[in-house]
């Protein structure tokens, strides 16, 4: 490939990328310490098709950016020629409220989509970090989720259709607009969580949930991880149906937030029953309205409040979570690390925000991984400095499926130009 200067590339692209806006990279576009050589902002599927076809002809490496809330996730990209910004792909294509489904363009933020869906008292039931600026595309590409995953599932559980542009510039769709559908392969799920390494998603269709009329959260302050574990166990065994069961643990703090969303009398009764179940194991307080909203806003700070902290995602078999958190506590103390772990207590998925020397962080990640085997748990570096992400494999061991994942990648992107090296398992 002849390396063209950014200005020549911008000039050359103008007739090749449809009606897309073309511009040079700015500070905002800096990714993994690199400036892309050119930034293209398509506003239609046709623009994306033209852009990817041009990139294919010129053999340009491509990365996608949405709200840039997760631009530092995944392994650092090895090269970025073309950054496709989805900023102008931000429409709600259709909200079929009678069918509880919606099709949206990927550049729309979750917050803007949910504002619109709320007109019919429906929503995409997700609450991942930074949802004011996180886009649908970014959330789908990372399969990111938040506390309500406990009750509503992750994006991969709610996606029912996708249209995407392949590395060779072909537009393709999978799934459809109906919730129940087994026609053809489910490429929608395959691209969910693929970190943009298989194609550029243009629109996605999801099943929606009704917005519950009331919400209550039982906040439980606990004196130890052991009591937190016992409360989580009894809640999980009960007949209660919370939509979130969120643990926050750090040195000297153990707190559980249990949310009930339903009609008034049901959320009131369930939260009372939860308090009875906790009994004398912890201090309980039931919050609703603005107080409750504030509580959850503060909870979100654990992920987003410290932009320089490393963010790990620990997943494990649910019953193994608390022993692992004890281990985390011990190893952190020994290595001078500060941490906050916050996540889905009953699902075995927590985010760990970590501060301390890079060497100590690397050691911590290695030690945690030694506790886990493939399929029974993983530690993935989500956000972190380029230095850390170059020092350690951000994904950890993938297992025997890696061979097939590589085969899929090479079928979809034979020249390895889409987010090269950034995808799961270094795809």
């Amino acid at each position: 490939m002849a390396v063209l200067s950014p200005s020549v590339l911008v000039e050359q692209s103008r007739s090749r990328v449809g009606q897309s806006v073309v511009r040079a990279s700015t500070e905002m576009d800096l990714t993994d310490g690199m400036h892309p050589r050119i930034v293209v902002e398509p506003s239609t599927a046709d623009d994306v098709v033209a852009t990817l076809a041009w990139a294919s002809a010129e053999r340009l490496t491509v990365m996608v950016a949405g709200g840039r809330s997760k631009q530092g996730w995944g392994a650092p990209a090895s090269s970025i020629d073309l950054l496709v910004s989805t900023a102008r792909l931000n429409r709600i294509v259709e909200h079929r409220h009678g069918d509880l489904t919606a099709t949206v363009e990927v550049g729309a933020t979750l917050a803007s989509v949910n504002r619109e869906l709320a007109r019919h008292r429906q929503w995409l039931p997700w609450d991942p970090p930074w949802s004011d600026r996180a886009t649908i595309g970014g959330i789908v590409s990372t399969n990111d989720s938040g506390p309500r995953r406990h009750g509503y599932g992750a994006p991969r559980d709610g996606i029912i259709g996708v249209s995407m542009v392949r590395a060779d510039g072909e537009l393709a769709k999978s799934g459809g607009i109906v919730v129940k559908n087994v026609a053809g392969y489910d490429v929608s799920r395959l691209v969910t969580g693929s970190f943009g390494c298989l194609g550029v998603i243009v629109t996605a269709t999801f099943k929606l949930s009704p917005i519950a009329s009331t919400s209550r959260t039982v906040a439980v302050e606990l004196d130890s991880l052991e009591s937190a574990e016992s409360v989580v166990r009894s809640l999980s065994l009960s007949a209660l149906t919370p939509t979130a069961m969120e643990l926050v643990t750090a040195a000297g703090q153990n707190r559980l937030l249990v949310r009930f969303e339903s009609i008034e009398e049901a959320s009131a009764q369930q939260s009372q029953e939860a308090c009875s179940l906790v009994g004398s194991s912890g201090q309980t307080e039931v919050l609703t309205g603005e107080e409750e909203a504030n509580l959850w806003r503060q909870h979100g700070v654990h992920w987003s409040g410290k932009p320089d902290a490393t963010l790990l995602k620990l997943s494990c078999a649910p019953a193994e979570l608390f022993p692992l958190l004890q281990f985390l506590r011990t190893v952190s103390r020994e290595n001078g690390l500060e941490y906050v772990a916050a996540g889905r207590a009953s699902l075995g998925v927590v985010d760990i925000s970590l501060e301390g020397s890079i060497a100590a962080q690397v050691r911590m990640i290695q030690l945690l991984r030694e506790q886990l085997t493939v399929g029974r748990g993983s530690v993935v570096v989500r956000n972190g400095s380029v230095t850390l992400r170059r020092k350690i494999d951000v994904w950890g061991e993938i297992g025997s499926g890696l061979r097939v994942m590589k085969a899929v990648k090479s079928r979809f992107d034979p020249d390895n130009r889409l987010s090269p090296g950034r995808g799961p398992g270094g795809l």
């Binding site: 559980d157 109906v178 693929s194 009398e265 499926g401 899929v408």
Partner: protein
């Protein structure tokens, strides 16, 4: 098949693991869709992953196609054997391997029956959510292949939402493990695409399933309406009130009468009934159930029966689940269609089906997973009348075009299989199908894993991805593009 190949198979699975008897082979010629038949080259009954692996390896080395089969209850010909291939029947791999209640999961072999999973954990207060109507006789392996649903998938999702991990033998004989008791295994979501791939990507040999706590409360009502439209309005009202029931099922007059003849559920003699079930915490269920009743009254239900006992609830469900089989009471033969529409398009699609019934002279009954738009028209015919079987098939195909016109799908749970491969291009263009085939080529470049299913045209995996080009086998007249 060549004797040497059969001998090698026998070495792997033993003589008692081979089916050779002509009468016995007959069983394996077809799955639940009996109109599609093919005598398999060989049938093996492996008892372990190692045996499956050895059989698949042998097929890979010799280029012989293979088809995996569970209980053979599929309704799209997905498990129809290949005449020159090996049928791998997984019925002997039927052990429950591990019950891990602290992690709310169970690991089973593919031949375990769906209902047996729930039975195994029922005493401890757990169950497995996907409940296809055939759950007494269908196996988990087949559920994984078809991404099976069931009446309760409206609230709880399909098989893909409940499979945590699998062990699978790839078409080259490699064994891979995907997922496990922990969520979010890093890497591409191969599990998400493998579930529902209709046995065309791999042979699944172990499955780890998610278990749910049994709900504290379950309430079920049956509401009768004097038109399917009124029943449809009630469903819209329930969803519009922000309620997601565990199940909402609709039956029309034809299927109500058939069910009455077969299992006597004592359903009202009316044009449409709804069965609505709510489950969850006691407080939610009782409050929301009152709202459901109000909605049904507002939608002019002419009768509402509330199940007061488990027996009554079971009677409602028995009437619903027997609907397919019951059609045999009112018609010598019937064709079960499986299509999906956006739920709000129900009145329009049902009136087109009624017009089609009148035009064709064939009676059509409708059973409908009303909450999620999955329609099961039952086209009645008499095969003793010349031409009527073909007519029934044409009528069933036309119903699919109504589903597609409404923005729906050609299959909601029965799969594409061999039966609907020719319809797939009505839903997806060449580029869409080509993209799906990229997945197939990554798993099965030799095209030996259940070939001829799902996709209407084989694809040589050496081809460069791009718009459709004529396949060499088509050019030579060996394959046909439908």
């Amino acid at each position: 098949m060549e004797k040497i190949f059969l001998d090698q198979l026998a070495q792997i699975v033993g003589m008692d693991g081979m089916v050779r008897d002509d009468a016995e082979l007959l069983t394996y010629e077809t799955d639940g869709l009996v109109k599609l038949r093919s005598r398999p080259g060989a049938v093996v009954l492996p008892t372990s992953t190692e045996q499956v692996q050895a059989v698949v390896k042998l097929c890979h080395e010799t280029g012989v196609p293979f088809v995996a089969r569970g209980q053979g209850t599929g309704l799209s010909g997905g498990a129809m054997p290949h005449p020159d291939g090996v049928l791998i029947a997984l019925t002997r791999m039927n052990r429950i391997l591990d019950i891990d209640l602290p992690n709310r999961c169970i690991t089973v072999e593919p031949g375990v029956m769906n209902l047996d999973v729930s039975k195994a954990v029922s005493d401890e207060g757990y169950y497995y959510a996907p409940d296809p109507s055939s759950q007494v006789i269908c196996s988990i392996g087949g559920n994984v292949a078809e991404n099976s649903g069931g009446a309760h998938c409206l609230k709880y999702g399909f098989t893909v939402h409940h499979v945590l991990g699998v062990e699978a033998v790839l078409p080259d004989g490699d064994v891979v493990t995907l997922g496990g008791p922990a969520l979010d295994a890093p890497g591409l979501d191969l599990l998400g695409v493998l579930v529902g791939s209709e046995g065309t990507l791999a042979v699944v040999t172990k499955i780890t399933l998610n278990l749910l706590r049994k709900p504290a409360a379950v309430k079920t009502l049956l509401a009768a309406f004097d038109s399917t439209e009124a029943a449809g309005n009630a469903v819209s009202g329930i969803i519009g009130a922000g309620i997601i029931p565990a199940a909402v099922e609709m039956m029309d007059r034809v299927t109500i009468e058939a069910a009455e003849e077969a299992v006597h559920p004592n359903f009202p003699k009316t044009d449409a009934i709804l069965i609505v079930e709510l489950d969850g915490a006691e407080a939610d269920v009782s409050a929301l159930f009152r709202r459901v009743e109000e909605v049904c009254v507002e939608a002019k239900a002419c009768e509402i029966q509330i199940a007061k006992t488990n027996e009554q609830r079971a009677r409602f469900w028995q009437g619903r689940k027997a609907a397919f089989a019951a059609m045999g009471r009112v018609s010598p033969s019937y064709y079960v269609q499986d299509g999906v529409i956006p739920r709000t398009k129900l009145p329009e699609v049902l009136s087109r089906i009624a017009a089609l019934s009148e035009r064709s002279g064939l009676k059509i009954g409708n059973v409908f997973h009303a909450g999620d738009g999955n329609l099961h028209p039952l086209v009645c015919y008499d095969e003793r009348i010349p031409g009527q079987a073909d007519l029934a098939q044409d009528v069933a195909s036309e119903i699919l075009t109504y589903c597609l016109d409404a923005g729906g799908s050609i299959t909601g749970e029965h799969g594409v299989g061999a039966d609907k491969a020719k319809h797939l291009p009505k839903m997806f263009n060449d580029s869409d199908l080509d993209t799906m085939q990229l997945v197939r080529c990554a798993f099965d470049p030799g095209y030996i894993c259940n070939p001829g299913k799902v996709f209407p045209t084989p694809r040589l995996c050496g081809e460069v991805p791009g718009p459709y080009r004529q396949h060499p086998t088509e050019a030579s007249g060996l394959a046909e593009r439908f």
